[in-house]
Amino acid sequence: MTLQDIIAGLNLKVLTSLRNFNAVTPQGGYASDLLSCVVAGAQPGNLWITLQAHMNVVAVASLREVSAVIITENAQPGPEVVEKANDQGVVLLSTERPSYEIVGKLWEMGVR
């Protein structure tokens, strides 16, 4: 299951620069809004599902080398956050749906 399939399947909005998402295959995921828990629990290549949308999300995503961040409930990162994410090669995706639903759908799609 590529990141492109996930973006299409969950109808996610891509906030950062477009790139070849077919080449990225996320390995499992981690859901939390507490940054230190993500630092401890997320594995490189995971999808990270959160409703946080501020600058430090980029730092943690880059630190843990997650494949993409799915920002839920339509939380909107500012343009400086998106710029920083592009700088650091972090993919930010957005949805209006809540984390619970997104995690459920990802599990159903086989991202485990």
């Binding site: 891509v14 620069s17 477009l18 790139r19 070849n20 998402f21 809004d33 507490l34 940054l35 230190s36 828990c37 630092v39 401890a40 490189p44 959160t50 946080q52 501020h54 600058m55 430090n56 999300v57 980029v58 730092a59 943690v60 880059s62 630190l63 080398e65 400086e80 650091q88």
Partner: protein, 338 residues
């Protein structure tokens, strides 16, 4: 990439699909960065209007090109291309002068314009090659879609090589400098409340370690430890503090120090889930009470020394295992060619 840039930009009036869009974006960036003069062919083979179509055949064949500018007394008067040549061949008119078949309304691009300008011109006019002129309208080169593809690929390779060279230079630091004990010290000032730049120092340290040839897993461990220590200064200190990383061939020492407020109960501070983070910090997802616990997981030794009213010192140490040597990346045993 499934389509070449040529194909993506070359089809006039074609709708760009989402899939195309995501594939061209990174290349597009380069299309704005690179100048036409960076990618054009400078060694231009030209002909004169009085030359025959036979001369065109010879020139195109010898140089494996698809067209050439036609010059008369140093000024550009036309372009002759394979398509023009085919019309002459169809008429069995090889001995005709070039001016009979050449394209006279020459569209040119300027050498100092970005490559994207040439791409737009190719898309708009459907021509395959464009003469390039300087600010005084003098011919200085020719550009084709192939030149652009090559230029973009070269630029991408150059970016990659620059990082390789940085890596190469840094990774030999410990081998090239001989001393009884070599260490590299990195210092970062961390401002209190600076959430916007939070994580910057740890990101720089992680990259520095990778360039020094540290194994990725080790760089990640240090990244986590330093990130948590950095955020502690941002969230909890009174006036910010200093982060100091000492890299040695056998160990990495990381240390933060601040001048207050100090931790009243160090043992409590080390309890998983315990936090004194402000409501603001908590609203941003800090204050999980896992910071120090995360550090402990990543380092071999952690010491927390704090006095209320004086300040806090946090010392973290990672010992490199025998298999965790700093080493040059594979293929970097010789200076990479530029």
């Amino acid at each position: 990439m499934s389509d070449t840039i040529q194909e993506l930009y070359g089809r006039k009036g074609r709708n760009i699909t989402d899939r195309d869009a995501q594939e061209i974006t990174r290349v597009e960036e380069l299309a704005y960065d690179l100048k036409i003069s960076d990618v054009m062919t400078r060694d231009v083979k030209s002909l004169t209007p009085a030359d025959t179509m036979r001369a065109v055949v010879a020139l195109l064949r010898q140089n494996r090109i698809s067209g050439a500018p036609v010059m008369e007394e140093n000024s550009l008067v036309g372009v002759i291309s394979q398509e023009d040549l085919m019309r002459a061949l169809a008429d069995d008119d090889r001995d005709a002068p070039i001016h009979k078949y050449m394209t006279r309304n020459v569209i040119t691009v300027k050498s100092y314009e970005p490559v994207v300008k040439a791409l737009e011109t190719f898309a708009r006019t459907r021509v395959g090659r464009l003469p390039v002129v300087d600010e005084n309208e003098n011919l200085v080169g020719m550009i084709t879609k192939g030149d652009i593809t090559r230029g973009v690929l070269t630029a991408i390779r150059r970016d990659y090589q620059e990082e390789e060279i940085r890596r190469y230079r840094a990774s030999h630091l410990f081998e090239d400098i001989i001393s009884d004990r070599t260490s590299l010290i990195l210092r970062y000032k961390i401002k209190q409340g600076d959430f916007v730049n939070g994580g910057q120092a740890s990101s720089h340290i992680k990259r520095a370690l990778l360039r020094l040839g540290a194994p990725p897993q080790l760089a990640r461990q240090c990244g986590i430890a330093v990130y948590e220590a950095e955020m502690n200064l941002i969230i909890h200190s009174t006036n910010g503090g200093v982060l100091r990383v000492q890299v040695e061939p056998h160990r990495i020492l990381m240390q933060t120090s601040d001048d207050g407020p100090g931790i009243p109960d160090v043992k409590q501070a080390l309890t998983p889930g315990w936090s004194t983070a402000s409501p603001l910090a908590r609203s941003m997802g800090f204050g999980a009470g896992m910071g120090l616990v995360n550090i402990q997981r990543c380092v071999d030794k952690m010491e927390l020394d704090s006095t209320v009213g004086k300040g806090t010192k946090l010392l973290m140490e990672i010992h490199l295992r025998p298999d965790e040597k700093f080493k040059a990346p594979p293929g970097a045993s010789e200076t990479p060619s530029v």
